[in-house]
Structures are given as C-alpha cells and as structure tokens.
C-alpha cells in the first residue's frame, strides 16, 4: 500500500515545487540576460581622433583618409588603422563616410568616371554625400562624426548617415 499525501497536501507540494523552481530559474536567467544583452559601461565618450590636415584634401573628389585610432575592444584598447572617405565642404567643414557599404559591409570605392561611390560586391551605388542611388543597399552610408579645428580634421563615432 502506498503512503501517499492527501490531495490538498499534494497540491501544496506541487505548487511549492514549481513556484520555488520558477523563482530560482528567474533569479538566474534575468541577471544572465542582463549580463549578455546590456552593453558594457562605456569607458570613454567623445573620443575624437585626429585624422589629417584639411588643407591636403582635394575639394573636387572624395578622398580616402587613412588614420590610426584607438578603440575599446572588450577588455582591450587596440590601436588600429581606420579609413574614412572625406568630402571637403569648406575650409572648416567635412563629411567623413564610414568605409563600409550598408548592404553587407564590403569596402566600396570612389568611381571617378561616374562620379559616385561603387560597391564591388552587389553593385550598390551611392552619391557623393552617401545617398543610395542604385542597388540593394538599404540605407545611406554611415558617417563619422566630424569636426575641423585649427585646420585639422577630427573624427568621432560612426553614426547612421540618415541621422547625421
């Protein structure tokens, strides 16, 4: 003969088992989700990198500017080469486009003949100021935040081109 608890007692046991189990699961799962999904506390804001002299930029065509910048990469700070396509709008104003196509991240280049940016991967084309002309690219080219001080170009974070 089984020694089984009365139905009401059994119901209490089952509720308690599931309830306590749920609390513990949540207590582990929620912090884990926060741990994996929330961005790390940013260490440095407003980090501007000097990218070159504005005097050396040809105002007629976009110019590919190569510069060194430091980037926080997890627990490391890496110093790396970066490029920007810079368009001179005036003596103290530039637009600096991030060098990746907004479709799938290929490096695009300036096509002098057609006067637009061409992506070699899936033939997206962008105007001089980064707008999509043809091809599968879903949005304008991303831009670096850019400013000019004392004739030097300073570049900041990359922001979406349509919000810049």
């Amino acid at each position: 003969m089984d020694n089984q608890p009365a139905p009401s007692r059994r119901g209490f046991f089952e509720y308690a088992i599931h309830g306590l189990g749920a609390i513990m699961t949540a207590a582990l799962a929620l912090p884990a989700a926060a741990y994996l999904l929330i961005q790390p506390k940013s260490r440095k804001k407003d980090s501007w990198t000097e990218a070159g002299d504005i005097a050396k930029i040809d105002p007629k065509a976009p110019e590919e500017l190569v510069f060194r910048r430091t980037r926080v990469d997890g627990w490391k700070v890496t110093s790396e080469k970066a490029t920007a396509w810079v368009i001179k709008l005036g003596d103290d104003k530039v637009v600096a486009l991030a060098p990746q196509c907004t479709h799938l991240g290929c490096a695009y280049h300036w096509d002098d003949k057609n006067g637009n940016f061409m992506c070699p991967c899936h033939t997206s084309a962008f105007s001089k100021d980064g707008k999509v002309l043809t091809g599968p690219a879903p949005r304008p080219l991303d831009r670096y935040q850019a400013k000019v001080e004392n004739g030097k170009i300073f570049l900041g974070d990359i922001v979406p081109g349509d919000k810049a």
Binding site: D2, Q4, F13, L28, P40
Partner: protein, 537 residues
Amino acid sequence: MIRAILNWLDERTGVVGAIHHFLDEEIPGSSGWHQVFGSIAMFLFLTQIFTGIMLAFNYAPTPGEAYNSLKYIVTELTCGRLMRGLHHWGASMMIVIVVLHMLQTFLWGAYKKPREATWMLGVVLLLVTLAFGLTGYLLPWDNRAYWGTVVTTQIAASAPGGQIVQQLMGAEGGIVGAVTFARFYAVHVLLLPPVTMLLIGIHVFLVRKHGVAPAPVETLPKKKFYPEQVFKDTLAIFVVFVILFSLAIAAKVPVGRLADPTDTSYIPRPEWYFLFLFQTLKFFDGPLEVIGSVVLPTIAILALFATPFIDRGAVLRVGKRTTAIAIVLLAAITWGGLTAAAIRSTPAAPPDVSEADGPQDWQQLSAVELAGIGYYRKENCASCHDGKSSIGPDLSKHPVKRDAKWMIDHFKNPQAIAPGTSMPAIQLTTMQLNGLAAFLLKLNEKNQAALQSAPQFAVEGAIIYQQFQCGACHMINDVGQKMGPKLNGLNRRRTKEWVEQHFVDPTKLSPGSPMPPYKFTAKDMDRMVSFMMALGE
C-alpha cells in the same frame, strides 16, 4: 494542446514515461529532511555549469588576458560581479554540501552492503569537487591565484613521482606560467565537467539500483519520491540558493593585483577548505614534510574508500552509532582547530600606504618628482591608470608598494616583471624613468588631485632642471646639493629679470660664481625661470 505535444513526444521518445518512472520511485517511509543533500549538490553543480559558461563568454583563458577580462566582467558588465560571485561562492558551498552529504551517509551507515560502490564513487566525486576548486583557483591570474598555485605545484613535486605530476601540470621546475595556466583551464572546463557528469550519472544510477537506504526498522509504509521528498529537496535547495545569492551580492570577491612572480611581499594562503592541510604541513619539517603533504592526505582518502569494508556490522539507528558519531566529532574538532590555527597565523594585510600622509601640494615635491609628473602626462599614463579605465590599476588607490628599481624595471619591460600585463614598455631614458618612479612613489589617494594639478610650466621647468642636473649643485625642498644656494624662496630674494640674466652670464651678477652660463631657448628660459620663481619657501 500541450497534452497532445507531450503524447506525441512520449510515443516517439518515451521521455514523459521516463520522468514519471524517475519521480515515482518508491522510497522508504523513513526518508526525509536528512536526505536532501545529494539533490542540493546536484543543483549546485548545475548552477556552477551555468555561471561558468556565463563567465566563459567574456573570459580570455591566457595569463594576463585572463586577469584583464575578469576585471572587465566585474567592472564593465551588468551583473558581471554577480555571475562571478555566484561561481566563486558556489564552489565553496559545493564543498560544504558535498561534505554534509558524506557526513549524513556516514552517520546513518548508508554505505553498507550493497551500497559500497555508491559510497566509493561518492569519495571520487569529493576529490573531483576539490580538483575543480584547485584548478579554478588559478584562473583569475591575480597574485592570490598565482602564489596559491605555486605552492600547490611544489607540494605535488614533493610526492613520490611528483616530477611527473609537475610535468603534467606544466609547471616544471616549479615555474607557474602560460603552460600551467592552459593545463589548469583545460582540466577545469574540458575534462572535469564531463567526467563529473558521468560519475554523477553512475552514482545516481546506483542509488536507484539499490534504492534509498532504509532505516534499520521501517515502521511506515513505502512512499513515492514525488511530491513529498521532491518538495523537501526543493525547499532545501531554495534555502541554499538564497544563501548563495546573498553571498554573491553582499560578499564581494576582490580581484587582486595582477599575478606578479617578483612580488616578495605577497603571503599566499589557500582557499579556506584547504587551510587545514596547509596548517598540517607546518607540523612536519624537512624530510618529514612529505608526511604532511602527501602521506596523511593519502591515508585519509584511502580510509574513506575503505570505510564500508572496515565497518561491516548490521545497520543501526543513527543514535546508536556512537563510534561513527565520535569519529565525526573528532574530525570536526581537528579540522576546526587546524583551520582556526591557520587563520590566526595569517598576518593581517599590511596597512595601505594611502593611509600615510605624503606631500599635500605639488610645491612640496622635489624637482625630480615634479619632472615625473611631466613624464606621466607626456606618456599619457592616465589613459589606463586614472581609475576610470579598467585597463590598469588606479595608481593613487593602489599605491606602489615597491622600490624605484622594481618600478624602473617594470617601465622598461613590463612583460618581464608582470607576465601577461597589457602595459606597453615606456620609451624613456633611465633618468626620466627615475623621475616617473619618484613621483609615483609619492602619489596617494589624498594628494593625487593636488599633485596632478601642478602647472605645466612648473612641470616643464622641472624637466629642464633635471635634464641639466641643476640638483648637482642646488637644492629644492631639501633635495640636492649645497654647493650653490638653496633655490626655495628665490622669488623673495631676486626678480625674474635678475634670474634670467644670471642664467645667461652668472659671473656678471655673482662674481666668482662657479656656475656655468646656460643658453636656453626663449621658451625653455621662460619655463625655467617661472618654475624657479614659483618655488615655495
């Protein structure tokens, strides 16, 4: 709907039936609260796997990188400190629960025929748990981890065949390095978890095969595992979980300094559950040491294995098992006494140097120290050491407890002094590094703002002062030589123009002065003179 899915699943896999079979196991009527420890150990093991995987998502398993990534987890990531706390305290609680589980089995005599194999497998699982603790201890790669492991590998070496063990640990000649680290990491995350799962599987299988150990005389009819015993297990697990969670939140586990093989001031201590072994070791000197480090622990482990064969009598009520109770009490007293003695013998951490008063103002610094501020700025040390960045230690909060020689060696070749550090070598002359070291030795939490507010002209003036070795004849703030006049209070004695002209042609203004003329650039002259005129009394 759910029922339909379950039915479909059960028809194809039999999983629902298997779960029911597992939960409906018949257990003795006497079963109860004293048998919850196995389930808690199982739960803690699963929690360790979970938090361990979470940590591994943001952890780089190489020396140095390990330390940096752990700091990143703890300081930069949301709930990172919690994950680390759960894993750290979970390890300690695991030991506690496994030992309680064994004590219960021992006191109730549940290891007797036919359950000898279950018991012996349990002893292996205890050793596996300790191996987890031992290998995990190294992984933060801070001083505590490093030095603790140095001692462990040395003990291993003192055992017969220890050379081979040391070789397997990747610590030949007692040197703990990258290979040791890789081995410990591999054992901790690749080898031990599957082995443990397999052993737990067999352990649980054996428990099921022989059934939960009954009392000598069962008065109550048998009952099912679910729901009453499962409820008791779950509630006990919940209590342990609340304790674990509270510890993880309240008792912060510090990340110490980066492992430093040259740090002679560090006093290594093992984790609390190994302290009794550490203390035992002290009773055996010289050639006898192996008794404390190897012979006694081996005998203890063998005795545990042999327990079911030594005690073969009939099962008695727990209250009547006086010998067993006496053995447990004796072991507890011995363990407690040894652990307490070990804690008492641990010297308190040396008082923080930041408590000591250093100079409270930049004007109290010597020229060399002031020049050091200049190099500190020039080399942009603050980008990693300002306390906001998690890359390097905040040098004001972690005052340098080293001498200048250590620091200069460290500046020149950080990797050689602190393997794995991400600090680049500083390209300065030894004289300039001297200044940097001198400044850092004076820096503490109280004076950092004041010292670092030193005006740039003074700092640059001090660099020129150091460069031209003015201190070989003059004195600033009681540092230097007395051949020339003391420079403190110069602004009271002379005008700016006078000092300027004096640099150009000293003998014109001070006939007979042995001071040579100095041809500074206009900019340097301005800095130098401004610095001279800014000196305190």
